[in-house]
């Protein structure tokens, strides 16, 4: 959340740099079956984000020491491809990708019916091929679609989206410039059928009113994104 210096984030009509109104999402399209060798997969193009998620399993759990007698283990990896960012990303895990992997696993473990597969493992692989802003949200959403595509039982799919603040105006779904120069970021993981949450982070500076507005934007956006997810699963081949 750096200062915005000379960058003009909103024009005189209250429109954002990419022409969106504060509540608008970037264009989103979802495709299933993009990794033919996986048990389930999905890709999401969200703005210029391009994310692929693949699911393998339920399968035998290796190494044995992480096996659970009463439920399956969810093995989630979030990774950014080396060419996904403006400056090349060195391959391998870093602290950020480990944290994102963990919070994504925590969110998905809350909805996947792990008790149905004791002593098994389900692998969820999230690969960021092109990053704009909000890759953790896109990754979590893609993973939900991939899990559904793999036929893994869940109570609901997780829809993840972030709202934030630029120039003291709360806006939905920050793009790259807004994320770089904005003043706050509130990513959430929402269960669209119940309105419950399984993922929540925030950084920056929001007044209670601004926080409420950002929260409401995310809730509204989740309903719209959920429709695109369901459509993708209906239309997708196996």
């Amino acid at each position: 959340m750096g200062g915005y210096g000379d960058v003009q984030m909103l024009d005189e009509n209250g429109l954002r740099m990419d022409g969106r109104k504060p509540a608008d999402l970037r264009p989103i399209s979802i495709e299933t079956g993009v990794v033919p060798v996986a048990d389930g997969s999905a890709s999401i193009r969200w703005g210029t984000n391009h994310v692929v998620a693949a699911v393998y399993g339920p399968m035998e759990c290796h190494p044995r020491k992480i096996q659970r007698q009463d439920r399956a283990v969810l093995d989630v990896r979030y990774n950014m491809a080396p060419f996904s960012t403006t400056d090349r990303m060195r391959p391998g895990f870093n602290r950020r990708s480990r944290e994102v992997s963990k919070v994504t696993a925590d969110a998905l473990e809350s909805v996947v019916l792990l008790e149905m597969y004791p002593r098994c493992k389900v692998r969820v692989e999230i690969e960021i091929l092109c990053a704009e802003a909000g890759t953790r949200c896109v990754g979590l959403t893609a993973a939900s679609v991939a899990l559904a595509h793999a036929g893994i039982p869940m109570t609901d799919m997780v829809v993840s989206v972030a709202s934030g603040k630029i120039h003291d105006v709360v806006v939905c779904d920050l793009n790259k410039e807004e994320d770089n120069y904005g003043e706050a970021d509130l990513p959430m993981g929402i269960l669209p059928n119940s309105g419950e949450l399984v993922f929540l982070q925030m950084d920056g500076d929001l007044s209670p009113d601004e926080f409420k507005q950002a929260w409401d934007y995310n809730m509204e956006a989740a309903t719209a994104i959920h429709e695109i997810m369901v459509e993708a699963l209906k239309g997708g081949d196996s």
């Binding site: 993009v34 033919p36 692989e125």
Partner: protein
């Protein structure tokens, strides 16, 4: 990569098919799977391509960095080529540091491109002895159903041919300029399945096959890299046969790259 159990039944099945000169998916011996090439697919990369060969899908992305030249070559830029096959690409690929298999992949593709001389390394000099461009070619698989080598090599050279040096962003020049690629090295890979070599082995044929041979040829038909991998013995005649096949297949694939670049 986890070592899968060698499925004896699969080996026997492939060998039985080979006796009638057949393959398990109905292809003839030198026939490739359906192959698609797309360029300019990754907006954050300075050059990019996606290749699909059957159910094998890979991406290649080119990035640039400024580096200090090697003391013995003060006027020359550098090339780095690395391949990553992460667990997303299949049930047998595991997380962790690069496996010997993925290192071999990156190095064989690297040699084909480097040794063809397609990159004008002197053109990558910024300040002699101080600053040169390093071209970084990253190969990234998202679905492995066999023959990652050819998929990576094709995506790699196509991404390089479309790459643009970001001189403006690095405040080195007023305008970005295309990376000068004078040749199009192409790799063809053959694997021994059921006792004879076949072109473009898929995942099942890799699992139930023996040694593989990778050949990279340049525009003029010159050989730029060779690699024999896995356990197995082959004869001079066998090699001569696949070399002849590679000569004609490489021309077709080079035409595919030319067409993709013209269209893109």
């Amino acid at each position: 990569m986890a070592i899968p159990l060698v499925p004896k039944l699969l080996r026997a099945h492939l060998a039985a098919l080979a006796e009638n000169d057949e393959r398990h998916d109905g292809r003839s011996r030198w026939e490739a799977r359906d192959t698609e090439l797309e360029i300019g697919v990754l907006p954050r990369a300075e050059g990019s391509a996606k290749v699909r060969i059957g159910n094998t899908i890979v991406y290649a992305g080119v990035k640039f960095q400024v580096m200090t030249p090697y003391p013995d070559r003060p006027n020359q830029g550098g090339l780095m080529c690395s391949a990553e096959v992460r667990p997303v690409a299949g049930p047998n690929w595991e997380p962790g540091p690069p496996s010997p298999e993925s290192i071999e992949l990156g190095r064989v593709v690297d040699r084909g491109i480097r040794e063809s001389g397609c990159i004008d390394v002197d053109d990558l000099c910024i300040i002699p002895g101080e600053k040169v461009w390093q071209v970084i070619l990253d190969l990234f698989a998202i679905s492995d159903d066999g023959n990652l080598f050819d998929a990576f090599a094709l995506a790699g050279v196509a991404a390089m041919r479309t790459a643009v040096i970001p001189e403006k962003r690095f405040e080195i020049g007023a305008e970005d300029r295309p990376l000068n690629i004078s040749k199009t090295p192409i790799m063809c890979s053959y694997q021994k399945v059921g006792g004879r070599f076949v072109y473009d082995a898929d995942g099942k044929e890799e699992l139930g096959g023996d040694e593989r041979i990778h050949i990279t040829l340049g525009d003029d038909g010159h050989v730029h890299s060779l690699q024999k991998g896995l356990r197995g013995i082959f004869t001079e005649d066998e090699f001569a046969e696949i070399m002849e096949q590679a000569q004609s297949r490489c021309k077709d694939l080079r035409e595919m790259v030319n067409k993709a670049e013209e269209a893109g």
